[in-house]
């Protein structure tokens, strides 16, 4: 179990993290989700020991590792830009963690070779052991980085924006591969992402971060359907921010997903500016009087959509108000 207690970190005058508390159970797959500058990568690096927190404690299975060096924490770290050693072959990269061990703890050359082959098989890179990183595609490099991190048999796998530098197609394949790998190995894993879709799709639990603070911790379902703060509502999934008074529902703001608004006989008048098909629904974009944001509504694709330029009535199906 990984426990973070009241983690604080400043970079000069800039507070990167304040008072982050988090508990991660063994075998969990956790996403640290937030916009850039939210402190998610800093938190990941503090867990790894690549960054030292200014205050608070990091506990691995109840043991304070705050003063433990990176090398001794037993974490596998996968960097956003892979950080492969470019003068070494793929096999040498994967073997690195095993071959720098103290002589007494080191496996024999043959054992290391076998282990490397096993790992390359695990990430489906059999036969590419002799290539240099420069000869691989982005997705393949990311797999090498993953195999290299797994080689030291870490008790915790940390991934910093693991799919950030890849194109959409490769990203999807690799996401699936990583999730399968996690299921098979049951290795406690934490990954950083700014992509809410990625977090919702892959994680057992999502930690939503903003401005150096944790806004909400919950399963993807909880975070999506019951956002704890306006920030979470706005960041996870698409949200329309509407004054409740518009629909005679009292004060405060309503945070409504596009599918939580409906076009019908009642509600506020919306000037339709754009209509297009978004998968299985019509996405209708338009303007409400007195609000300068674009309002997004999803409506049943089986029904004919309103015409651009028309004015329709819009009402919420549910109410969600933050104090």
């Amino acid at each position: 179990m990984i426990t973070l207690e009241n983690i604080n970190k400043r970079f000069g005058a800039y507070p990167a993290l304040h008072g982050a508390d988090l508990e991660i159970r063994d075998g969990e797959f956790i996403a640290l989700l937030g916009p850039s500058g939210s402190g998610k990568t800093t938190l990941l690096r503090i867990i790894a020991g690549l960054e030292q927190q200014d205050g608070g404690r990091v506990l691995f299975d109840g043991k304070d590792v705050s003063a433990t060096r990176v090398a001794d924490r037993g974490v596998g770290f996968v960097f956003q830009h892979y950080a492969l050693f470019r003068h070494m072959t793929v096999a040498q990269n994967v073997a690195f963690g095993l071959s720098v061990r103290r002589r007494r703890a080191r496996l024999s050359k043959a054992e290391i070779g076998a282990k490397v082959q096993e790992l390359l098989g695990l990430v489906r890179l059999e036969g590419l052991g002799d290539r240099l990183p420069a000869q691989l595609s982005g997705g393949q490099r990311q797999r090498v980085a993953l195999a290299r991190a797994l080689a030291i048999e870490p008790q915790l796998l940390l991934l910093d924006e693991p799919f950030g530098a890849l194109d959409a197609r490769v990203r999807k394949d690799l996401r699936r591969a990583l999730r399968d790998l996690h299921r098979r190995m049951g290795l406690t894993s934490i990954f950083v992402t700014h992509d809410q879709e990625e977090a919702l799709e892959m994680a057992d639990r999502i930690v939503v971060m903003n401005n150096g603070q944790i806004e909400q911790i919950g399963t993807p379902e909880e975070v999506y359907t019951r956002p704890a703060t306006p920030f979470v509502a706005g960041f996870v999934g698409e949200t329309n921010l509407l004054p409740a008074g518009l629909f005679g529902a009292g004060g405060g703001d309503l945070h409504l997903r596009p599918h939580e608004l409906e076009i019908g006989e009642r509600g506020a008048p919306l000037a339709v500016a754009n209509v297009f098909r978004k998968g299985a629904v019509w996405r209708i974009e338009g303007h409400l009087a007195g609000i300068d944001r674009v309002i997004e509504i999803d409506s049943d694709a089986a029904l004919p959509p309103p015409e651009v330029g028309a004015t329709v009535l819009v009402a919420p199906k549910v109410t969600r108000v933050f104090a």
Binding site: L50, A71, F79, F85, R86, F96, G97, V100, G138, A151
Partner: protein
């Protein structure tokens, strides 16, 4: 969008002849011509003159000039100075750039400025600094004399001045390279359990090897060719404290032009070898740098 199309249409006549980003024919010829004339006049011609003058009296005369006792002593001393100062500055440069590029600490920008100091100070002044420090009238002069240590007008002074002058070459080459490479590779190595020394030896050093070699090459060229600072501290004692550049000057002042140009041709030859090696390295270097990501 339509605006760009209009512009493109109006310039079609010109663009038909040359690509969108290249100059028109006459301009191109003129610019290349000027550059070539400049190169020939200021670089190729002097180089040719050096070799022509050196071999004016024939190969035998050239050989005699470069194998006289004084010339041999000057060559030996130059090689000795380079053999000591280049490895030293390779170590200093590596250490300084490793510290600057991979760690954050107070006084970092001051350190970078200090590394550049030998570039910004006139070599003659650099030489004078050592005279003021270690010379008879200098701060440490009396103490050195009492302990029978000779630095100024002796080989140690020449080595000190050369080390000072050539200090920035390796560091200047490595700092931008290491900074561009960032700390990811080192952090990856450390997270995989490598010690600091293993990280340096297996990751950092291989990552900068071509840049390091390039810096060492430039450092060596300057160490062998340095005139100003060495001239101030050497004392020009023939056969003892004359390096090749100083020897060339002495011969020239004595109207021994063939001898002067013969020794100069060795230095020019070194420069050519350095240039070829540098080009070859740059080619390797770019090949490597381009292979990232």
């Amino acid at each position: 969008m339509s605006g760009a199309l209009v512009v493109r249409g109006a310039r079609r006549g010109l663009l038909a002849r040359a690509g969108a980003t290249s100059e028109s024919g006459p301009t191109k010829v003129l610019l290349i011509g000027v550059a070539l004339v400049f190169l020939a006049l200021f670089l190729a011609l002097p180089l040719a003159v050096v070799f022509m003058e050196a071999f004016k009296g024939g190969l035998a005369v050239w050989r005699a000039a470069v194998s006289s006792d004084d010339a041999r002593a000057a060559i030996r001393l130059t090689l000795l100075v380079a053999a000591i100062s280049v490895p030293l500055n390779m170590l200093f440069g590596l250490a300084a750039s490793w510290a600057i590029a991979k760690f954050s600490f107070k006084g970092k920008s001051l350190l970078i400025t200090l590394i550049d100091l030998p570039f910004s100070v006139s070599p003659v002044v650099s030489g004078l600094i050592f005279v003021l420090l270690f010379g008879m009238q200098g701060w440490l002069g009396p103490w050195l004399r009492d302990h029978d240590v000779k630095i100024i007008f002796a080989v140690p002074g020449i080595i000190l001045a050369t080390v000072f002058i050539t200090f920035p070459f390796v560091a200047r080459e490595l700092i931008p390279l290491m900074e561009a490479q960032g700390r990811d590779d080192e952090e990856a190595a450390v997270s995989l359990g490598a010690s600091g020394w293993q990280t340096f030896w297996h990751v950092t050093l291989p990552n900068v090897r071509w840049g390091l070699l390039y810096g060492v090459l430039l450092c060596n060229a300057r160490a062998m060719g340095e005139f100003g600072a060495v001239s101030v501290v050497s004392g020009h004692i023939r056969g003892e404290t004359n390096t090749m550049p100083l020897h060339v000057e002495i011969l020239y002042n004595e109207y021994d032009f063939v001898g002067a140009f013969a020794v100069a041709s060795l230095l020019a030859g070194l420069a050519l070898v350095t240039l070829v090696a540098k080009t070859a390295l740059e080619w390797r270097f770019n090949l490597h740098a381009g292979g990232r990501h």
